[in-house]
Amino acid sequence: MPKIESPPPVTHPRSRRMSSRGLAVGSVLLLAILVSLPWWGTPDQMRTLVEFIYFLALAQMWNMLAGYGGMVSFGQQAWIGLGGYTLIVLADDLHVNMFLAVVVGGVVAALVALPTAALAFRLRGGYFAVGTWVIAEVFRLLVASSTEWLKGGLGRSLTAAGLIARPLREQYTYWLAIVIGAGAIALVYTLMRSRVGLGLTAIRDSEAAAMSVGVKITRIKLLVFMMAAFGTGVVGGLIYLNALRITPQASFNIQWSAFMAFIVVIGGLGTIEGPIIGAMLFFVLRHYLSSFGPWSLILLGSIAVIMMLVAPDGLWGVLHRRFGFELFAVRRRLPAALAHGQSAVAEGQPVLSDPAVPETKP
């Protein structure tokens, strides 16, 4: 690849992004606080954080697929169920270490995502969304029909959990959750700063235009679909490592996809910050509204619908427009010259600056 010279430093009056160093320092501090929680916090706090983290990670994966990739799927519960059942089968039937089994669950999900994509990619837009849902239903029905091995609709329990003392198991589960949550954010961040990520958003915005500039459409979409399946599958394992009991109805439930979509839309589609804010808000709402039954879902659905109509870029979009601040610098920005109507292309400048290249370097 020929070396592309970076454009001159750009000053954006309304865009302040956190520098990579600031982000790194902040992340390390936050992680240190979180990792040390078992020594100064309560088991209740750990359990709450595990739950929060799995919603956060699920939302990050859904956003990677739908927000950045334009693949709106309502079938992500397929990977949650597969991840959960893989954990239980590996840990209980094959005596694999259960924390390792969580990760293997993600691999299984990614492998199953390959033939799934072969079918689902024949559909687009709304039909893709429903098609992935039908495929998830097929998995649910297949698992439910295994009455001997997987105990059908009754579901199974993670009996291997009894092998480790409860406090220790909860501590390990908590640390694993932190790795998964941080890993999900790091995955999306790395992807979106790479060429693949740029190609992905190009596909989302226009497949025809992306193809015309040489983006390998099917390969990139497939890669991202499998990555999202992997991440969601790992979270599925985490959910049932935490819950210790799985049924096909609960694990392959469309409600998971509903939560992912609502979190992402409320927080801000196509940003890394959005799902974080959305997951926080969702978590607080869920906590306070859980005793109101149907009302909580009516409220959540209404917020998502209203956000989509009045602020389609979500809470983070509103904040970003107001304050121009960004935590995760993954957006390509137009050089100032181009933004002011002069042709940067004519001067041999790249049209888009690459955020992976620090902008202050000559």
Partner: protein, 290 residues
């Protein structure tokens, strides 16, 4: 003879599925929109018929006179009030809005009617049947349903080909910008298309309620059957929808005969097989599925 009977039941069930799928196919054809509340509004129609029966003493058949216009109005309001605002903003907004409405609808129904299953009482006709030959018995209700599907599809075809408004539908479907040039208000057309789609959903919902029981959370399964009907039949093809419904109905009844747990699974697998080997469906007209 047993299999002939099963086949006949499956074909008649296909009539109901054709009614499920027609509305979905229509709005996709006119405005490339997928309405994820499709199934929930079908359940709403069944509940409206239930309320009409309880409050006004109307039979399910007479309640259609109220339920069909009600769903038509819901459709126009939904399209003009919410969905038209998302036109041209990509696939996500209408999906999120209709999915959100689906979740809202299910939970509102649960608040209003509890999660218990309900049924519509159409009297002795529900159990009536005709014995065609020995071993082949056709229910009167499934026959009425099938006839209703054929009637609706014929009416829709006449509407689309013979009337001025129908031509406006097709023109907007082909190219909304050019259609506007010759004086067609595409937003109005979209509103009417959604109204018409939900009017058909109302018929399907009432027939569903007479045929079997229903509960607030039944909508998504109905949406999936409608989707499968359209995928098998081919996007944008009216009579393909009937064929799709029949294939789905036969797949489900045959599947259930082999193993009672395979009713849904057989339908899903036939849909996926079709997707694998003939992704455009059997009778596709609409090329662009995006």
């Amino acid at each position: 003879m047993q299999w002939v009977n099963i086949l006949a039941q499956g074909i008649l069930l296909g009539g109901l599925y054709a009614l499920y799928g027609t509305g979905l196919s229509l709005i996709f054809g006119v405005m490339r929109l997928v309405n994820l509340t499709h199934g929930d509004l079908m359940v709403v129609a069944a509940y409206l018929a239930l309320v009409a029966g309880q409050l006004l003493g109307l039979s399910p058949w007479l309640s259609l006179l109220l339920v069909v216009p009600a769903l038509f109005v819901i459709g126009v309001v939904l399209q003009r009030g919410l969905l038209n605002a998302t036109l041209g903003k990509g696939v996500l907004p209408p999906l999120i809005i209709t999915f959100g409405l689906s979740v809202i609808t299910q939970n509102v129904l649960q608040l209003g009617f509890t999660a218990d299953t309900q049924g519509l009482d159409a009297g002795p006709i529900e159990a009536a049947s005709l014995e065609v030959t020995k071993g082949v018995t056709l229910g009167v209700l499934p026959l009425i349903t099938f006839a209703a599907a054929v009637l609706v599809l014929t009416g829709l075809q006449l509407f689309l080909t013979r009337t001025k408004l129908g031509r406006a539908f097709r023109a907007t479907s082909d190219d909304p910008t050019t259609a506007e040039l010759i004086g067609i208000n595409s937003r109005q057309v979209y509103g009417l298309a959604m109204g018409l789609s939900l009017a058909i959903v109302a018929v399907a919902g009432v027939l569903l309620g007479v045929r079997t029981t229903f509960a607030p959370s039944d909508g998504p399964a109905r949406l999936i059957y409608a989707f499968e009907t359209v995928i098998i039949g081919g996007l944008g093809s009216l009579w393909g929808t009937l064929a799709g419904g029949i294939i789905l109905g036969v797949a489900q009844t045959v599947g259930a005969q082999l193993n009672p747990a395979w009713f849904q699974l057989a339908g899903h697998l036939v849909t996926l097989a079709l997707l694998a080997f003939r992704p455009t469906g059997l009778f596709a007209r609409t090329r662009d599925a995006g």
